[in-house]
Amino acid sequence: MSASRIKSTEEILGAIESFSSLPHAVVEIVRSIDDDRVSPTQLARMIEGDLGMLTGVLKLANSSRYAVRGGVASVQEAVTVLGFNAIRNLACLDGISSHFRKNGQDAFNFENFMRHSIGVACSAKFIARSLRLNSDIAFISGLLHDVGQVVVAVTLPEEFAEVMAYKKQHDCHVSVAERAVLSMDHAEVGAHLANRWNFPAVIGEAIGGHHRVFDEVSSRMADVVHVAEVLSHALDFGGSGQVPPLSHGAMLRLELSFQHVRLHFDEIEGEYCDMAGMLGVG
């Protein structure tokens, strides 16, 4: 199929319907992220229900980053030692990484995608923390912000290759190339997927809105992810090649200055290097 035959948003969305969703455990964990009633036992059950994720989480929890003396043998133990939020973030990181590593396409660089996603997740976490916003929701939103791009790459590989060729030829941001080649960009595709997977509204808005922050109205988490993406490119996480345009409206709405974020550059880079290293994409 050539990209020229894709004419409408409906056709794009129809094509991505064939994508077999994220692993059930990832969807379940993301859905529950803004639910304070989820207990460590429930989180452990979600992780233990997916053997691949269970193995992955225990492997990450026992990595040198955490240096737990004697190691951890169960999710419950990992939650006790490393904390509930850390394990939830690791579970999502492992689930998404494993899933897209298996479903990769030639034109799609999985390693760069994961590096970029981790970079934005870590940047968003520290920006949110400095603004006293929920840093775990920011981390997960950052991790998933480009999920639309990878799903387009998997379900429409020829069109994705055309997008990449356009981006290279015009030296432009990927969303500009997507709008030129397809009828929508990856943020819109991501918002559609977040809705289909019943993700919390705050995460759906961040995924769908991270390139729409130039509008007057935007969600705070979309603003955080947008600024985090700019920072992640500036710190060269993922080898993207260029820093994208920045929304001054987002900076104003967040009352944020990069001078303030500078205090956390070493923590952001430290966490990024650790996580990329743990997943073998460092």
């Binding site: 990595s63 040198s64 980053r65 030692v81 820093v243 001078q259 650790d274």
Partner: protein, 102 residues
């Protein structure tokens, strides 16, 4: 050989490494003064420590790396135009990168 402060994950700490800066929690409260034993930090939420390490690079090698940092940053920011926030970010990242190569 220069001695350089380096932030490392707690898991990479080795016997003989000297704690170069006090370990603080997110509220800035000191958990451990420089020179103390590291045990028990993990449970208190500490992931990284700052240690002093020898830097084997010569002045010439550092100068080459500084030039590479500048080239890379100019490439990354090539489409930033006159944006004041991006100009600020450029200088902050440059300062951060050069700090490790001074």
């Amino acid at each position: 050989m220069k001695l350089r402060l380096k932030k490392i994950p707690l898991g990479q700490a080795e016997p003989g490494m000297q704690l170069a800066a006090a370990v603080c929690n997110q509220r800035g409260e000191v958990l451990l003064q420089a020179g103390c034993e590291l045990s028990g930090l993990r449970k208190r939420g500490v992931g990284h420590i700052v240690v002093q390490m020898a830097d084997p690079r010569s002045e010439d090698e550092l100068a080459v790396e500084r030039a590479q940092v500048l080239d890379r940053l100019n490439l990354l920011f090539r489409n930033a135009g006159q944006d004041q926030h991006l100009a600020s970010l450029y200088h902050l990242v440059l300062e951060y990168r050069l700090e490790a190569l001074s």
